[in-house]
C-alpha cells in the first residue's frame, strides 16, 4: 500500500483515523497502559516505518511516560495507546507499569515507600 506518510490535512479526528488506520480503542496488551507507564525502545527505527512509530522509538531511547509521549507528540491517550500496541506486539518497545503501593498477594511495599520518602526529603 502506498499511503502518504503524512496526511495532507493533519488535524483532528481525520488525522487520528489515518494514524490508527481506523482502530479506535486500545485492546490487548495496551489495555493496561497507564499514563505513568514508562515506554522504552528496544530497537532503532527501521526504514518504511510509520512516521509516528519512528518518532516514538526515537523519543523513548530513555524511558518516557505515556503521558509525556502524548504531550510531546500532540496525541490523545487513546490514539497513542493504539500506536503503542503495534510497537509492543512487534517487540519494538517495552512497557513498565507504575509500581503500586500494594502488589497483589505481596502486601505493602515498604521498601518502595521508603525510597519515595527519601527522594522527596532530598528535594
Amino acid at each position: 500500500m502506498s499511503a502518504p506518510r503524512r496526511s495532507t490535512n493533519p488535524s483532528g479526528l481525520e488525522r487520528y483515523y489515518v494514524l490508527t488506520k481506523g482502530r479506535s480503542g486500545p485492546g490487548g496488551s495496551a489495555s493496561s497502559l497507564d499514563v505513568a507507564t514508562l515506554i522504552v525502545s528496544r530497537t532503532t527505527p527501521v526504514p518504511g516505518m510509520q512516521h509516528e512509530h519512528e518518532e516514538i522509538l526515537r523519543r523513548c531511547r530513555d524511558p518516557l511516560s505515556v503521558a509525556e509521549l502524548g504531550a510531546h507528540l500532540g496525541l490523545p491517550f487513546n490514539i497513542l495507546a493504539v500506536l503503542l500496541t503495534d510497537l509492543l506486539e512487534a517487540g519494538r518497545v517495552e512497557a513498565r507499569d507504575p509500581i503500586p503501593a500494594h502488589s497483589a498477594g505481596r502486601g505493602p511495599d515498604l521498601a518502595l515507600l521508603e525510597e519515595v520518602l527519601s527522594g522527596l526529603q532530598r528535594l
Binding site: 514508562l38 503521558a67 505493602p108 522527596l120 528535594l123
Partner: protein, 201 residues
C-alpha cells in the same frame, strides 16, 4: 510482559528506571495545577484523552449515533526521586464526573492528595467521596489562600467529615517546599497504613 512490582535487573542503558504516580484531586480552582507546577522538575505538560460517553455494552451499530465525545485534559509533572525512580504527579480534571469515565485513572497510583480551598469547602466534597468510593488512600491538604480565614484544622476535619486516621495538613500550593511536605505527609500516611496492614496479617 508484566514487570509490576519487580526491580529491574540493570539492563542496557537506563534499563532499570521505574515510575510511581500520585494523583492530585480536589474541586475546581482549588490549586491542583498550581501544586503540580510548584513541585515538578519539568515544565508541567498536558495530556489528553478523548472520552466517549456511551455504555460499553451498547450494540456497536446502534450506539454510534448516540456517542458524545469529550476531551479531558490532565496536567502533570515529574520529580526524579533518584537515578532510577520517577514520581509522576497528575492533576485530575476539575469535573469529577470524568474521573470514572477515564478508566483506571486512579489505578496503580500510590495515593492521592485532595486539595481543599477553605473558603469553599463544599467544592472538594465530591473529591473526598470519590477517593473513599474508589478506595484510594489519600491525605487532605488545605490550600491556604492569602485571604483565607485561619480555620483550625480540626474544625475543617469535622465540617468535611474526614475520619480521624486521615491526615489533614495546611499548605501553600504555590510553594515548592510546602507542596513537597504534603507529598511527604501522603507517603508517611501510606507507610502507617502498611504497618497496620502488616500487623493485622
Amino acid at each position: 510482559m508484566d514487570f509490576k512490582g519487580f526491580d529491574q535487573p540493570g539492563g542496557p542503558g537506563s534499563g532499570g528506571t521505574r515510575s510511581v504516580k500520585v494523583m492530585i484531586a480536589g474541586g475546581f480552582g482549588t490549586g491542583k495545577t498550581t501544586m503540580v507546577r510548584s513541585v515538578s522538575d519539568i515544565k508541567p505538560l498536558t495530556t489528553e484523552e478523548t472520552l466517549t460517553q456511551a455504555s460499553a455494552a451498547d450494540d456497536h451499530l446502534i450506539g454510534v449515533a448516540d456517542k458524545t465525545e469529550t476531551t479531558v485534559s490532565l496536567d502533570f509533572g515529574k520529580i526524579s526521586l533518584n537515578e532510577s525512580l520517577m514520581l509522576y504527579l497528575f492533576g485530575t480534571p476539575g469535573q469529577e464526573r470524568f474521573w470514572f469515565l477515564w478508566n483506571g485513572l486512579f489505578k496503580g497510583a500510590l495515593g492521592a492528595i485532595v486539595l481543599v480551598d477553605t473558603r469553599r469547602l463544599a467544592s472538594s466534597f465530591r473529591a473526598i467521596e470519590e477517593m473513599e468510593r474508589q478506595n484510594v488512600p489519600f491525605v487532605v491538604a488545605l490550600n491556604v489562600f492569602p485571604d483565607s480565614k485561619d480555620y483550625p484544622v480540626e474544625e475543617i476535619r469535622d465540617a468535611l467529615d474526614i475520619p480521624a486516621n486521615i491526615p489533614v495538613v495546611a499548605c501553600d500550593a504555590r510553594d515548592r517546599a510546602s507542596s513537597r511536605d504534603v507529598l511527604v505527609a501522603l507517603i508517611r500516611h501510606l507507610k502507617d497504613r502498611s504497618a497496620v496492614a502488616l500487623e493485622s496479617r
